[in-house]
């Protein structure tokens, strides 16, 4: 059973060359989605358009959380960027499958694979 008690969401940004790696941890739901969406949206606005989303420690996502990721994807793509996803687990993996998000977000096994498959335009 997933531990869902009062778990917050947080994120960490790192870089590997031209690629920005965003690790999101915790529960990405309506309570925090707007804060995360604002933070993620700032990346393309600052020219960071090649992005790997590390979701290996994301334990829960709802449609508001998905909206935040989709918003990032659209902003990056609008600037000829690319967004890959790694590490999907359990409930987030099920939501990605149901909403067919893997059609847009290519889901990779590792950061290295995601970077190797990144379309640098």
């Amino acid at each position: 059973m997933a531990d869902i008690s009062n778990e917050q969401v947080d994120y960490e940004v790192s870089h590997d060359g031209k690629v920005t790696i965003v690790a999101i941890r915790g529960r990405l739901s309506a309570l925090h989605a707007s804060r995360i969406q604002a933070a993620l949206s700032a990346l393309p606005k600052h020219g960071q358009v090649y992005i790997v989303l590390d979701l290996s420690k994301l334990t829960w996502i709802d449609s508001s959380g998905v909206g935040a990721l989709v918003s990032l994807y659209k902003l990056a793509k609008a600037q000829n960027g690319d967004v890959k996803v790694i590490g999907l687990q359990r409930q987030p993996k099920e939501i990605f499958r149901l909403l067919r998000l893997e059609v847009a977000f290519e889901v990779c096994e590792t950061v290295e694979q995601a970077i190797s498959l990144m379309n640098f335009g």
Binding site: S63, Y73, L98
Partner: protein, 152 residues
């Protein structure tokens, strides 16, 4: 899944505030004890979306109240949400039709939809979803807990 004899019902009234979601989800998750993880996640996900819908779109004030019922018996989990916000019959019917048409032709299910993702989650993860509108909105979602009636 075997019947582990886990039954129970919880009824609770909370203010129309998103901050109450985590506590409610914990209650529902606890009532899902013994249910396969993927099914429990689906039930809680559907509740997550329906609660969000009320908080975000009902036009209720944060001091208005939402009535919630969880009821588990040997064969099903029932989740009911009652609120006095604006009617959402139009969206309920609209996205029900979208869900039916997408189920009939999975290739038509577009990626990166802007709207209706919550309803897709609700309709896909629950076995029955009904809506009644009188003086209030009553959304009832049932998930069967046996393989013969599996929702997804």
């Amino acid at each position: 899944m075997k019947n582990d004899g886990m039954f129970g019902a919880i009824s609770i009234i909370v203010p129309c505030r998103i901050e109450f979601y985590d506590g409610l989800a914990t209650l529902l998750q606890t009532l899902c004890f013994g249910i396969e993880d993927v099914w429990a996640d689906q039930i809680v996900s559907a509740f997550n979306e329906s609660f969000n819908n009320v908080v975000q779109h009902s036009q209720l004030q944060q001091t208005d109240l939402i009535e919630i019922h969880f009821n588990r018996d040997s064969s099903q989990m029932l989740v009911k949400i009652i609120d006095k916000g604006i009617s959402y019959l139009e969206n309920f019917n609209k996205y029900q039709q979208v869900h039916i048409s997408q189920s009939a032709n999975e290739h038509d299910a577009g990626a990166l939809k802007e709207h209706g993702m919550g309803w897709t989650i609700i309709y896909s993860f629950m076995s029955e979803v009904t809506y009644e509108r009188n003086a209030q909105n009553v959304l009832t979602m049932i998930r069967y807990l046996n393989f013969d009636n599996e929702a997804t």
